[in-house]
């Protein structure tokens, strides 16, 4: 006689139904809550010391400025400004190339700035964040390492 069978004929069984219920509940929960995120990446940002922490005695290089002005039709005008440099560029690819030419590289005689030279991205208040980040990206592509965003005089918290 089967050992699981009691003398009176009852059969000992594992109740599968609640387990399957729980398993399916968990499955539905995970299917509903799962979120496949797009790959995010980051830019290391060098925020300029603002106000109290700035050392007034420190000698600092004048930063090379990338001025981004909001134009018509959500476009952006780009200007490169620095020591003896005032140059308008058409798009962010051209900006990256222009900045790369300005960077001192081995074997290139025309570079003016070291990779560690401070770069300041200067968007106006109306400039889109997308364009500000594209300007930042162009500076990273050009090989600069010390890049920050300029404070904006007319910015307001959560406007």
């Amino acid at each position: 006689m089967n050992r699981l069978r009691a003398a009176n004929g009852f059969r000992l069984q594992l109740a599968m139904t609640p387990m399957i219920d729980v398993v399916f509940l968990l499955l539905v929960f995970f299917v509903c809550t799962v979120r496949f995120e797009r790959g995010e990446a980051v830019y290391q940002l060098d925020l300029p010391a603002r106000g109290a922490s700035a050392d007034p005695l420190a000698l600092q290089d004048a930063p090379l400025q990338v001025i981004l002005r909001a134009g018509a039709d959500e476009q952006c005008t780009i200007e490169l400004k620095g020591d003896g440099i005032a140059q308008s560029v058409g798009d962010f690819d051209a900006l990256a190339m222009a900045m790369e030419k300005l960077r001192r590289r081995p074997g290139a005689a025309d570079g003016l700035f070291e990779s560690a030279h401070p770069i300041l991205i200067v968007p106006t208040a109306a400039t889109q964040w997308q364009h500000a980040v594209e300007g930042f990206n162009a500076a990273v592509r050009a090989g600069f390492q010390n890049i920050g965003f300029a404070p904006s005089a007319d910015a307001k918290f959560q406007t």
Partner: protein
């Protein structure tokens, strides 16, 4: 008597074992891929540069400041905590960041801002982060700007 089974009535059983195997496999898969930190990183249309030159974000503890667009308003949150508009909100944000980075000075602060926001709406948050570093007495704070790696596909 069944025609198929000469010895008795036909009994149709469904074999549950492969079904349960599959269900458990799916559960294990979802447990592994689900991120429980959804509140830290709400869905935001991050900027997408044309030829991205950034570093992939490593899975490490970080402090995330989110700037989202809700209707015509900009909402700033630190993790799941939202901040009120105006100077009081900015002070609270500065204080909250300073408290966290004082406990762990190596904690990077990530800025996740919607790409359609104007710089005027983002800059005060950058200012608040810089002020928090000063309040916490840190000479160096790692601040990072988040963007999407591939151009051309909308987030979420």
């Amino acid at each position: 008597m069944s025609l198929l089974y000469a010895r008795g009535t036909a009994r149709i059983d469904s074999n549950l074992t492969p079904l349960i195997d599959l269900a458990f496999l799916l559960i294990v898969f979802f447990i592994l891929v689900t991120r429980m930190s959804g509140e830290q990183t709400p869905p935001i249309n991050l900027p997408q540069p044309d030829h991205p030159a950034m570093t992939p974000a490593r899975a490490q503890p970080r402090l995330t400041v989110n700037l989202m667009v809700e209707g015509d308003k900009t909402v700033v949150s630190l993790g799941s905590r939202r901040f009120a508009p105006g100077d009081a909100g900015q002070r609270d944000l500065t204080l909250a960041i300073a408290q966290r980075i004082r406990l762990d000075p190596a904690l990077p602060v990530d800025v996740r801002a919607d790409r359609s926001l104007r710089y005027a709406a983002v800059e005060p948050t950058l200012h608040a982060i810089a002020q928090a570093a000063t309040q916490a007495g840190l000479g160096h704070l790692t601040v990072r700007v988040c963007a999407l790696e591939v151009k051309g596909v909308a987030h979420e």
